[in-house]
């Protein structure tokens, strides 16, 4: 692992302070299967015994997720991937449970998110939330889940509440640790001293993104040359010319794959020469195909083992499962897949028995979540564990990919791991 040691306090969720800011390379990409899904084709999990439970005798466990399947920034793949994992598990004769997975759409609307969560909690009696990806679920429903003793293993955590709640722990690195890691990659790996940052303005994310930038400053001692927000529909040309005039040798652009395409068009139009680094949301096959050969060196953050490295043994099971179910290969799909596997590990260790009512199941699941063994996967740079901390951002690792001739290529052999976050 490539460790990014902090020189001082780290913001955006808190973290340890390390002494010297040096980086250390250690062995990476352990491909030995430590959990289900990492190269295996059967959904065996840690804690599963040798006893096969007939399907009819398996206790039924209800799991749910609230997702932004529609709306301004949809994330459909995470819950689709989780559903595929649970379905395969249910068909696995070695499984111990029958998992009923319910996916609700909030359309990125807080009111609809509340309704969706109420349905899952009160009507569907779910005992665990897993694999969800939503713009508003954590902020709107975190308290509801907590009041009902529910915990959430988010497939994709987006807003700050996903990373500052006692009962929510996203499996992805998230935009904030991802931003810090991306800036670290830009300054320390690519070697840029003058970095501009252009970010899609989602309003409530301004402060946590600013905190994430500060964390990078604390780690590296460096500061951004400029930091701008753009509104929906803004033309990128003025931001590109500003970056050129500011002398930036690299720009971090924080939007989606479509914005990455438009950004590249604006960069090409102005004849800029700076490197561009994007969030993981730009790391899609569609963006690669549309951009082709980018105007300038273009990189993207990968929160998990880069999904475009299809030869990687770490991805074998995930790729096959996604292809079998017609789910696009994206980072969000990786998150949903891993969240579901972690959920299966937790549920199997909870000791749920046939006949346990919802309240009993929720209590058992809570104990299992809080005392869970770290969930490890070669697709993850950090072991995933919930624990009883007041906030969770367990995945502090990222890899990076570069777009070359229409294909994303992994450029960091090691995961970049930020200091531990308490």
């Amino acid at each position: 692992m490539l460790l990014a040691a902090a020189c001082g306090d780290s913001g955006g969720g808190g973290g340890d302070s390390a002494a010297d800011g040096s980086t250390t390379s250690t062995a990476s990409n352990d491909t030995t299967a430590t959990t289900a899904g990492s190269g295996d084709t059967t959904a065996t999990t840690a804690g599963s015994g040798d006893t096969t439970v007939p399907a009819a005798e398996r206790p039924v466990v209800k799991v749910g997720s609230v997702n932004s399947l529609t709306g301004p920034v949809p994330f459909p793949e995470a819950s689709q991937a989780a559903a595929a994992v649970f379905e395969r598990y249910n068909n696995d004769p070695t499984g111990k449970l029958t998992i009923e997975y319910t996916i609700e759409d909030d359309g990125a609307d807080p009111a609809l998110a509340t309704q969706a969560a109420r349905k899952l909690v009160d009507d569907d009696n779910v005992v665990l939330m897993a694999g969800g990806a939503s713009l508003v679920d954590c902020a709107v429903n975190g308290a509801l889940y907590d009041d009902n003793g529910l915990y959430a293993i988010q497939g994709t955590g987006v807003d700050i509440s996903c990373f500052t709640s006692r009962n929510i722990a996203p499996i992805n690195t998230g935009p904030y640790a991802g931003l810090t890691a991306s800036l670290f990659f830009t300054s320390e790996i690519l070697g840029h001293d003058s970095i501009c940052y252009v970010q899609f303005d989602a309003g409530t994310q301004r402060q946590p993104l600013t905190d994430a930038v500060q964390r990078w400053t604390d780690i590296t001692g460096k500061e951004l040359t400029s930091f701008d927000f753009y509104a929906p529909g803004d033309d990128f040309t003025p931001f590109v010319t500003k970056a050129i005039d500011s002398g930036c040798t690299a720009v971090f652009e924080g939007g989606l794959d479509a914005t990455a395409i438009a950004w590249n068009e604006a960069v090409a139009g102005q004849g800029a020469s700076f490197d561009t680094v994007h969030f993981t949301s730009a790391y899609t096959a569609e963006a690669a195909q549309a951009i082709g050969s980018p105007a300038t060196p273009t990189y993207a953050n990968s929160e998990f083992e880069p999904f475009t490295d299809l030869e990687s043994p770490a991805l074998a099971d995930w790729v096959q499962l996604m292809n079998d179910n017609g789910i696009p290969l994206t980072s969000f799909g990786e998150g949903g897949y891993l969240a579901a596997l972690a959920a299966i590990q937790v549920l199997e260790s909870a000791g749920i028995q046939p006949g346990d009512d919802t309240g009993t199941q929720r209590q058992k699941v809570e104990a299992a979540v809080l005392g869970m063994e770290p969930f490890e996967s070669p697709m993850l740079g950090s072991p995933y564990v919930f624990g009883d901390a007041p906030a969770h951002n367990p995945n502090q690792a990222s890899k990076f990919v570069q777009l070359v001739d229409g294909e994303w290529t992994t450029v960091t052999d090691d995961f970049i791991v930020l200091p531990d976050v308490k």
Binding site: T70, G71, P72, V73, P74, F200, D228, F229, Y230, A231, P232, G233, D234, D235, F236, T237, P238, F239, V240, T241, K242, D245, G255, L256, D257, A258, T259, I261, A262, E265, A266, G269, Q270, G271, A290
Partner: protein
């Protein structure tokens, strides 16, 4: 700062084109069309959807423009049939309803995820004061100016143009005189729809282009039209460019940059207040 200003010309050209469509409809059909950019966005999204499904780019553009034109013409026909003798305020309010309905329909059809629009002229640009002006932006600018000039000439110097002007002034009288008011109305709406579709097609490649954002381009267009007094096409074009330049320059000022998207509203407010400056309060009410 010159290059900052010039970087706003592509956006300004789009505002100018939409402003021309707004003024065209206001002058000729007596309606302030709040839905004009939505018609254009509809056509643009049909274009990009067809292109993504393999239709050749040029053909997709033609189909997209036809969709925007047809949608606008259809709405114009509805307006002419159901609201022939109503005042302009009522007809303008109807267009707000059109816009809201179309936003909902578009959400169902296209979703609200930003789409990537291929550039019309991918590799051609010209350098001015250190800023590269893409051919698509220059085409939009030229198109807006050319349309403004052509429409001005058409209205003054052609028989049909005179009839259209008469229709705009006294639609009932014009109809009694045998002028095909309804046909001319639909044709004007169709032309406005075609113009409005070209605006996002030319402007979208370098911006985060979701349907709502493209549909709301009507706001700076209205500001430009207001500066042209909803009458002068030439002033509207200049004003549209000016608003684009102002937005681009605002990116360089951190304090103002945060409020950049509200600039058209401030322009509208400033113009309205300026025009009321000589009014006595009681008389103005």
């Amino acid at each position: 700062m010159v290059d900052a200003a010039l970087s706003g010309l592509p956006s300004g050209a789009a505002y100018a084109l939409l402003g021309v469509a707004v003024v065209l409809l206001y002058r000729m059909a007596g309606v302030l069309n709040f839905a004009i950019a939505v018609f254009g966005a509809f056509g643009a999204f049909v274009m990009v959807s067809l292109f993504e499904r393999g239709l050749p780019f040029g053909l997709a553009i033609v189909v997209g423009v036809l969709v925007g034109l047809t949608l606008s013409a259809a709405m114009g026909g509805v307006m002419a049939a159901l609201f022939p003798d109503t005042d302009s305020i009522t007809r303008s309010v109807v267009t707000i309803g059109m816009a809201i309905s179309l936003f909902a329909v578009a959400f169902r059809i296209f979703g609200d995820r930003p789409r990537s629009f291929p550039p019309l002229f991918p590799s051609v640009s010209y350098s001015l004061s250190g800023v590269s002006l893409k051919l698509s932006g220059l085409v939009a600018l030229g198109l807006a100016a050319a349309l403004a000039l052509l429409i001005w000439v058409f209205l003054r110097n052609t028989r049909i143009g005179v009839q259209v002007s008469a229709m705009a002034a006294r639609s009932t009288t014009a109809e009694l005189l045998g002028i095909p008011v309804r046909s001319y109305t639909v044709a004007i709406w169709a032309l406005a729809g075609a113009i409005a579709t070209m605006a996002p097609i030319l402007a979208a490649p370098t911006r985060q282009a979701d349907f709502t954002s493209l549909g709301l381009l009507v706001v700076p267009a209205l500001a430009a039209a207001l500066l042209g007094s909803f009458h002068s096409l030439g002033l509207t074009v200049v004003a549209g460019l000016g608003i684009g330049v102002l937005e681009a320059m605002a990116v360089r000022w951190p304090t103002v940059s945060t409020w950049r998207t509200t600039l058209p509203f401030f322009v509208i407010l400033a113009v309205l207040l300026w025009r009321q400056r000589g009014e006595v309060w009681d008389e103005a009410r």
